[in-house]
Structure formats: C-alpha cells, structure tokens
Symmetry: D2
Subunit: 387 residues, 4 copies
Amino acid sequence: MTHKRIRIGMVGGGDGAFIGAVHRIAARIDDGFELVAGALSSAPERALASALRLGIDPERAYTSFATMAEQEKQREDGIQAVVIVTPNHMHYPVAKAFLEQGIHVICDKPVTKDLNEALALKTLVEKSGAFFALTHNYTGYPLVRHAKHLVDTNVLGALRVIQVEYAQDWLSNPAENTDNKQAKWRTDPEKSGMAGCLGDIGTHAFNLACFISGQKVKQVSADLTAFVNGRRLDDNVHTMLRFDGGVKGMLWSSQVAPGNENGLKIRLYGEKAGIEWSQESPNELWLSVLNEPTQKITRAGHGAGDEANRLSRVPAGHPEGYLEGFANLYLDIASAIHAIESGASADTVQGLIPSIDDGVDGMRFITAVLASSASNSAWQPLEVNDR
Amino acid sequence: MTHKRIRIGMVGGGDGAFIGAVHRIAARIDDGFELVAGALSSAPERALASALRLGIDPERAYTSFATMAEQEKQREDGIQAVVIVTPNHMHYPVAKAFLEQGIHVICDKPVTKDLNEALALKTLVEKSGAFFALTHNYTGYPLVRHAKHLVDTNVLGALRVIQVEYAQDWLSNPAENTDNKQAKWRTDPEKSGMAGCLGDIGTHAFNLACFISGQKVKQVSADLTAFVNGRRLDDNVHTMLRFDGGVKGMLWSSQVAPGNENGLKIRLYGEKAGIEWSQESPNELWLSVLNEPTQKITRAGHGAGDEANRLSRVPAGHPEGYLEGFANLYLDIASAIHAIESGASADTVQGLIPSIDDGVDGMRFITAVLASSASNSAWQPLEVNDR
Amino acid sequence: MTHKRIRIGMVGGGDGAFIGAVHRIAARIDDGFELVAGALSSAPERALASALRLGIDPERAYTSFATMAEQEKQREDGIQAVVIVTPNHMHYPVAKAFLEQGIHVICDKPVTKDLNEALALKTLVEKSGAFFALTHNYTGYPLVRHAKHLVDTNVLGALRVIQVEYAQDWLSNPAENTDNKQAKWRTDPEKSGMAGCLGDIGTHAFNLACFISGQKVKQVSADLTAFVNGRRLDDNVHTMLRFDGGVKGMLWSSQVAPGNENGLKIRLYGEKAGIEWSQESPNELWLSVLNEPTQKITRAGHGAGDEANRLSRVPAGHPEGYLEGFANLYLDIASAIHAIESGASADTVQGLIPSIDDGVDGMRFITAVLASSASNSAWQPLEVNDR
Amino acid sequence: MTHKRIRIGMVGGGDGAFIGAVHRIAARIDDGFELVAGALSSAPERALASALRLGIDPERAYTSFATMAEQEKQREDGIQAVVIVTPNHMHYPVAKAFLEQGIHVICDKPVTKDLNEALALKTLVEKSGAFFALTHNYTGYPLVRHAKHLVDTNVLGALRVIQVEYAQDWLSNPAENTDNKQAKWRTDPEKSGMAGCLGDIGTHAFNLACFISGQKVKQVSADLTAFVNGRRLDDNVHTMLRFDGGVKGMLWSSQVAPGNENGLKIRLYGEKAGIEWSQESPNELWLSVLNEPTQKITRAGHGAGDEANRLSRVPAGHPEGYLEGFANLYLDIASAIHAIESGASADTVQGLIPSIDDGVDGMRFITAVLASSASNSAWQPLEVNDR
C-alpha cells in the first residue's frame, strides 16, 4: 500500500496563535496529512511570513479565506480539507465558504457563535455532502475511548451519576486588559459569542460526558458568574444536569481556580462500577467494580482494550499526551476522508469523530445554560434532536 | 500540674455499633477523659455486657438514659459530660435529659432529627449553661485548621468558589435489606429524619465548607435522588450554593459512587490562591498561589502553622488519621470543659469546636435542600441566624 | 468478659522525649494497658513532674530504674511489663534489671548498642521466662501484615527482588550542634552505638523487608557515608543484599535527603506479581499481578484480608496512621501477655511480634554492614542463627 | 525565514520494529526533517513494502545500508543525516559506512556492542567531521532539562546522593521463547552485546544521572542477575555508584519487576534541596528546598525555566509525553545540523545532545558493571576520559 497524504489548508493559526500549531502537529504526528495552503492571517504580511515559516508555497499563502476556497477548488492539487482555527465568530463564514466548494472541513470548537449559526451550518454540511469534523479533541484520548467502551459494554451497569469538571486558572486576573491575545478574544462577546468559560471549556466537559456515557442531557440548571471585575463573559460555570433515563450529573467549569492548569476530569458511576479519568494524567483510567479493589488501567497496558490499543503509538509506561490525543482525531478523520473519497463507507470511525451534530448539541447546551442562569437557575430543556 | 481526666458517660455505642467505639478511642488518645458510666444499649443484657467489656463499673451500666442522667447527677464522682452516639432521632431526648441536669453534652451529628428539635435544643443548651459540642470531627484535622487559617489570614484573597464533595459507595446496593444495621437505620426516616445521604454525610461537607471558609450559605438549589430501588431516603445529593458576599459553590454527596470509600474533599479558590484538601490524604494540604508552583504543605511539616502543630502528636511523615482528627475535637473539648469548670473563659478553643449553632445551621441546610429539591431545585434561603 | 488492663511502667520518655509519648498513646488506643509507674527521667524533678503530668501516683515515680524494678516486683499491684524508651545504650541495662525480676519487657529498637549486648540479652530473656517484644512498629500496619500474607500465600510466586528504602531529611544540617536533643544522642556513638542512620532507621527497613518476605539476608555489601561535616556516625546507607534462595535486594536509608519526611517504602517482586507499600500512604497497598491491571488494596477495604481487618478500627477511607500501626503491636503484645499469664499459648500472635531474635538479627545486620563498609564494600555474611 | 527540512534516511525500523516508528514521529513532530530514503530491512520485499508505506520513493528504498550510503552521497538531494535504529550489534558498521561518506549520524543507544567498538567509532566520528547524536531520549524531557538547570545553578547546593532506577516487567517471563522479536534480540548476546537489561535500560538510567547531575561516575560495585530460567543476559541490575567529589548513588534497573511499565525515576539530593522526577509523570518535577514545603514544578507552568519552556509546545496542564521528549532531541539535532551546515557554531545546543562521548561513557559503564559483578561486586573504576 502506497502512502497517500491528505492535502490540507488552514484558515487562522498564523504566528502567535495557539491552537493552529496544535492542529498542525496533530495532523503531522501520523503523517496522514500535508499542509499545502493557508489563509493564516488577514494581515497580508503576517499571512505570508507565517506560510513561509511553515513551508507553504507562497503562491498558496492567501489573505482571504474566500479566495482560498475558490482558488484551491480550481487546482488539480487543491486541498481536500480545510482546518478552521479562527476565533469562534469566524467559524461559520469560513466553513460555509469551503463547504460550498465541496471541501471537507475540520473545525475547532465551539462550532459557531450561536445556535442559529450552528443549525444553519448543519444544513450546509448536509447539502454539501462534504465531511465535517469538530475537534473536541479530548475524545481522542485512548483511555477516553476505553471509558466509553466500558460504559457501552455494561461494565458499569445502568448509569446513575456523572460528575464532570474542567477548571483552569489563567483568567483569575483581568488578563484581557494586558496584551494577552488569547484572553482578549476569549472574553469578548463579539468574538466568542455569549459564552465565556462556558463556551471555551464548558462545552468540552459537556461533550466528554455525552461521548463517554452515550447519554443525552435533557435539562440543565445553571448559575454563571463573572468573578473578575469588568469581565463581560462568565468565568465560572456551575450546572446541575439531568440526563436521559434518570442519570444525574454536575458540571463545573472555571477559569478562575488557582492551581488548576487544565483540569478536565470526569467520573461516571453506575450500578455495578465507577470510573475516573483525568486529562492531566491521561494514561491512567481508574475502574472500581463494586466490592473489588480499584484497578489502574493504563494506556496500552493491562486492562486496556482494542480501541485504546489501536490509538496508541508507544507501549504502556511511555506517556502519550495532549498532542497524541489530538492526533487520534486526525487519524480517524484521515480514515473517514479516505473512505469517503474512495466511495467506501466511513462508518467504522465516523461515529467516533465529533460531528456537526455534536456542534449543534454544544450550542444547545450553551443556549440552555445561559437561559437557566438568566432565570435564576430554573431547569431548561435542551431540545436535543434525535439523530 | 497534676493530670485530671474528665469523667464521661456514653449513651448508645454498645457492642456492634460503629461510632461509639470511635468516640471512645478519640477520647482516650490524649488521656483527657475516662469513661465511667454508660447506657450503651436499651437491651439490659447487651448494655451490661458492653459496659463490662469497656471496664465500666456494673453499677453504672444503665439501661435507661433518663435514669443515668438522674443518678449520675447525684454521685459525687458523677460524670461531667455525656457522649451521645445514638441514631439521630434519639439525640434530642437524650441531650435534653442531661442538659436538664447541667451535664455537658458531646453529641454526634446531625444534631437532631429536624430543625424544630434543633431550635428547641438550642434553647435548652442556653438555659442549661452547660457546654454542648457537636462532633463534626472533620474540622479537627490539623490541616483543616490550617486551611481555615490560610483563609482567615487572607492568603487566598477574597474567596470566589468553593467545591466540596463527600462520596461513598457502601449503599450502592440495597444494603438495608440485609442485616447491615448501619444501613438499616441510616435509610429509615423514623431514625434518620427526612434526610438520608444528605444528613449522614452531606452535613459534614456543608459544615466543613463553612468552617474553613468562614462563609455562610445564603441560598441552595438542590436535586436529590434515591437511586436504589425502594430506598426511602436520598442517596445522592446535588446542590449549588450561594454564600455571603458572592461566593459560589457546589456540594455533591453520594453513597452510590463505586470506588469512593470516604471521599470528603474540599477546594477553595480566592483571588490570590487556591487550596485543596482530601480527607483520605489528610496529612497533605495543597496551596496554589497564583503564578507560583503549587506547594505541598504537610501536617507538622514545612508550611504548617501553629494550630496544625498544636494538634499534631507525631512528626511530619508519620501519618495521623481519622481517629487523631477526632481526638483533636476531644482535646479542645477537654480544654473548654476544664476552663468552664474552673470558671475561666473557654474562648481560645470554643470557636473551633462545632456548637449547637452549627447543629442548627446544619438542620437549616437540610431543610432548605429538601425544600429546594421538592420545588424542582428552586433556590431556597437558609435563614441562618447571626450568632 | 470483664475488661482487664495490663499494668505497665515506663523507663525514659519524660517531658521533651519523642518516642515515649508515642508508646503511651499506642498503649492507650485500644485500652489494653494502664501506665502506673515510671522512671521517666534520671533527673528527680523532671521525673516527678513528668509522672504527675501523666497521672502516675507520685509514689511510683522513680528516678532509678533499678529501684523501680525492685519495688514494683514487691507490690501486689506491681507492673506486669516495662516499656523501655531510653537512648540505645540504656536498653540493655534496663531490660536486664526488669527481666531479672521476671517482668515482661517492651523495648524500643535497635535492641542494644551492639551485637554482644544483644546476644547477652537473648540469654537473659530465655532464662527469665518473661516476654520480650521489640517495637519494630512498622510491622504493625494492617497492610504490611497483608503484604506478608500475600507473600506467604504465594500470590507473588517465588520472590526475586526486594527494594527497600527509608529516607528522611532532618539531619541534612548539623542539627547535633544545636539544642536538638534527638539529633544529639542519635549522632553520638556513646548513646547510639556504632551506627547512626543505619541503626536509627536502616534497621527498620531491614526488619520490614525480612518480616514481609519471610527471607533471611545472607550477605550484605555496603557503602556508608557521613555527609555532614563533623558528624561522627553515618547519615547515609547504601547496601546491596543477598537473601536466602537467590533473592536480591537493595536497601537505602538516609537522613540527608531533603523532601523526605519519613519515607519508608518497600517493593517486592516475585515471578507472578509485585507489591508496593509506602509508610506515608499506609492505607494503600499496590498489587500488580503479571499481565493484569495494578490493584489498589485499601486497609479494611476490598482486597484486604482477615489480618488487615483484625487490625483495623475504622472502615476503609477513614485513614489510620502511625499511631494505630504502633497500637497494633501493643494489641498483639496484650494478647500475648494475657495468654502467658493465664498459662495459655501465645502462639497465635507471637510470631507476628518482633522478638529478641529480631533484635539480634538487627544487630547482626548492623555489624555486617559496618564491616562491609569498612572493607570497601566486600560482601559480609550475616550469620543469622536459625531459630 | 523559509522553512528548510533536513533530509534523512533510516537504517532499520521496517514493519514490526518498535523504535524506528518512534524516531520517525519524533522527527516529524516539529517538521524539521523529511524522511526520503531507507534501508529499512535487509529482506528486500519487507524493505520495499515498508518504504512505500512510509511514502519513500521506491528508488531510494535500499536493502543494503552500504549501497544506501554510497548512492545517497552521490545524489544532489541525498540525505543529510542517517538514523540508525538497528539492533545494537549493527550500530557500528552502519555508522561507519555513513560517517565515511561524511553523512551525519543519529544513532540509537547503546552506542555499540562493546567498548572497543565505541572507541573505534569515536575515532571515526572525529575523523569524519560529521555530527553524531546518540538518542538518550530521556534527556529531552523539558523537566529533565530544568532539573539539570537547578543543579547547575546550585539550587541543590553541593550534591550528596543520587538514586536512580529504571524498572520494567515485560521480561518477567521467558518471552524470548515466544515469537516476541524485541525479547529475542534484546536477550541475545550476539545482537545485544554482553549486557541485557543493563545495556537496554540501565544505560539510560546511568546517562540520565550523569546528564542532570553533571557528575561523573568514578567507581561501580555491581550485582547482576538473570532471574528467568535459561536467560543468557542479565535481567536485573543492582549497582552502587561513587561519583566525582564524594557523591554517592545507587542504580537499580530491572525487567522482571511486575507492575513497572517504564519506571525510570531519579532523585538527587544536595546540601540545600532535593529533586525528584519520574518518566511516567514527566510533566511534574518535585523540588524540596530544606525547611520549605515541597513544590510541584510543572512543564511550561510556574517554576519552570527558559529551557523547559523552549522545549514545550503546549501550555501547562496539556500533558506532553515520551514522543515530545524524543522530539526535543530532534529539535536540537536540527539546530545543530543547520548550524554546522551553514558553517556556524552549534555550541548552544550541542552540549545538550548526547554525543559519541556519552556513548563511550555508557560502554565504559557497562564494562565496569560487568567486571564488578564478575568479581563479586568489587568496586571497578570507570576510567572516563576527560572531554
């Protein structure tokens, strides 16, 4: 079998950005993609300089994403997929431009600025026939997949309680008043949408809970706060959750919790067993079967299953991390795109890749949480469509 | 200085009970008490057998707590304090009997079966002039005291978020249908009151959060569940909290979370720092000052303060545990009783010993949580009296 | 069954001492002993003050251990056992005085100043018919007993490797030049014997390895160092060990390792499984069966056996610590003394209580390690007698 | 600045190999290299198939490394460096072939089969003028670099004790008798050289201790064992170390320690502070300054220095792992090669990249350990040359 890399372009992610570089490394780790075009910045000089630094042909260093979509479509060696790593408010227009050219889209989360855009995007995706992936990257960790497997195979029995949290501390001070670009746009409703911490990391926690449990959140009761003086969006999110079938949960996300670097953590409890996984120690999954000693399952180690092993590059004890977890998403995206382009079914992996439906669900979650918080925490339904 | 032990009696705590033995060890560790009387069981044979096993003079092995209160009052060498370790519904009548004789009371938590009893008990305590301690024992851990000290001395800055949880797994199955006595009475509204998990361990979490933070909870929004089929009281408690001065929090307690043995854990976040403490690793307190590496403060070790050191018996690295934490309460209770009996002020330690006011607060918390859960999680005020 | 406390006296352990208070608490926790006499200090005033503070009848507050041995023997209510908590050089003469009166002895470790004294003491013990216990307290931890059980029941298969270490940091500076009494005598050859760190904590590590493994050390190769300028005894011990039957091991002990408070840790590896236990987290034992996930066995929790449960006072998740582990030794000592005094066999527990033979072995270990280090680490035999 | 990737070829690392894939990912992560040629296997079919799968031009898929060296040298677009990932006995001849063509060499460890080869290779490297890197990858972890920085800047004060260990369990059973290729060659003296576990992982531990401490080992006393029946090379290594200037240490490495996946761990203790780092939790470094609370320094987090930050791709709390640590070596190698090829000095990074001198030192260590073990653990000098 000859190696065929998928040609990709990137919108956003120029010098100084954070998540663009992450996507590029993730795409590179398993050598399934090559970056050949970019509209890395709307500032022409920065766009070109960034492109050169990344080894992109200057001819394909665009300053307008619209031009890029059109011209790449024309080329015989044009990109097969675009990676969108702009601030949230630019997800929708960019995705639209490429979908309309039939180019696959790999989009950072949250999917759009608001629910209406998300629903509109869903229509566009369906019409386009192109593949759309949303990079809720934490679902790519091998032991997250194994956690899902344990739930799916009923090792936990009927689920009862889900506790999920995502805490950081980098916005404990008003960093948006400094020259911190990340802080600026993430606390700016014009660029982030109506959700601050909620959209930035709360949606990751929500998505992870749904991904592992296979449950849908039916109702939320929420209490949002902006603790930092003058901050325009929430920096702390308290929510209670009611899932399908009587499962109850809590979700806490915060960006003002000193000592928390990237504290995404989930615990699920069923009638027969509980599991616990923490993003900062991603190579360990703790399984507690009732009346048995707690087991430490390790990535690629004893107790890990086929899916965790499929997504591991190195043996147990050789830690894999955030970038490898992210790369796992790209690995599955590559499989899906190859399948689709060869006319085959992408079913095997497609259910594992966060989709436009997950994006819409995330926006529904944000919408419901904002509504609940605005109504003194009254329970709000999510109205998640069946898929 | 000659050693003077305080003479105590015990109501409840006969053979087969759990918490009675804990109190006895806690009272013994620092040799500040001697157990000289007991109404250890209402079953005469068991009462006597238990007393003999504990080295109590058979003459002072009572079967009726009322008789015990009266007769001990008559003796020159009568008990100075009574320890109440009965199921919850028997706290009030027993405390009443001894208070009416002017005998000090050390009472297990929650203070009574319901708020009315608690308020009535408060009146009795005040009228009696006797000393009343409620054994929220987790406040006795040296590093819990140090955590309180860090908050009090503004190391954390203005508080913002408090996350507290107390999870266990021993009621994941319907243990009340077996011969498990603990499970039976703790899930029985006649003996426990209207709160299950909420009263049994949720109040500990509530008390701990208030003790360390010095904050009062103003409102609660709650969602209670009884997951186990046929269970008459809650076994899982989800609550959001609003404290004085804008502090927000969450409290989760559960007895159906497999893998959790006695998972009481608290995290407090302020403008300047955060702290984290877990009951299962009580000799460590984690302090994260913004923009500095997290510090591991150890009991009696570097970073621990005077109060933590006062309450430590052995050097750092020689773990102290649950019983020593409990004993610290008894240590302070002994000081208070000695002070009171010698006509001196018990002020130094009294503020650190959970009191009837904490008991009333706990019942107010239970009452508000039950009301909120019954009204689809509408926020309920606590109406905590100023003290 | 009526409660009968064993009457004990103490030699050493006056105000300002460390280990005396530990023994008193350990003896008290399970209420099996009462302290009725003491030669707590050779300074008459301090001896009396200390005794009063401990509630000892002034008449039985001795300043001479010899007088105490004689007079207590005469009393009808005389002590049944003496606890020796003096510096090492005073173990032998004190033990001798009491053994000659037929009084049981509970002696702190290391058993004597040197091997000759230890062998002489063994003869005295045998002649006296009295019971002799050496408080290698770490063997009293419930999960240490369970570790021994796992080895004994062949869960590990044939043993191969034992790694044991005991690291502290409190002698990193020349504390013996300050007014630190503990540092003074423990670094003084007149009081400690020829071994510093080796005798103080190295023997604990040695004893623990032998206790759990059931193996005898046959040869040692050692490299001792006194890192602190002017220190007269070793403060760091490096040894390689060869056990019976081909098991190999390493033992490291140090008192100059910053960050280590009381870091006693042991790992044992066999053909089929490995285990790991650390004194600073004594409520957890890690069991790794080949090709299975590592299990976390908890004291009184799932996976713990009868012996661990027999020695637990509170449920899993309610941490027990150093004092409770120490108390377990006293619990077994009480059983043994009761059995002996009632003419019954003390076999059930006696094998679990460190004895004069363990004391002699410890001195043989010290002797061999010193000899090896003095001969540029040449392997030295231990010449452990069969028992 | 335009992006210029370094052209590399690989010898070894065909389908089914382990470390070849690791090198390829490590080289790819930061996009500094492109793999354009390979002699991936001596079996022609496997060599070609592997090359195709990796996207290598079939024309440059060699079956002979000698041919590859010659032909690549001829090409204008020939490789600039070769990566050698064969079993140990093939390191020397392959390195020789490419060095003689003036092609840079990136070689897996241990450097050669024995010390003589290593010394011969050193001569070849010096004669060639080419760059030679030895992939002791664990030195690439950001917090290992920070640990070195803490030692270099005297935060620890004068060093006293170094404890290093590297334990695994995958050879607990005679895996070499199955179809496990890794087990086969690593336990075969023809392919591994005279050292088993010692060469495979013991040298990593040795290298890490020297790298961080900046100390040279002067003498070793060792006790090697092959625990598994019929095994021809050691699977457990016990050594005591004496470093320059009086520092003492222990090194344990084992491949028969159940529960250890890849347990490389190092602790260094100086007069003023101690540090601890474990490969399985590579994003944390524990720093204990005497009389201060232990600090948790995190990669890219608070307390981490410039070097750790230079080598971090993602923020603190987003774990990086084994592959990123390995990639850091490639990052520095790329800088060195660019510098050398442009005639500039590679000094900045060159001291950080394990070199032929480290390779020779590793072989001297192996030689001395084998000699010591063969002479009943007599101390053996290392005769490390000054550099």
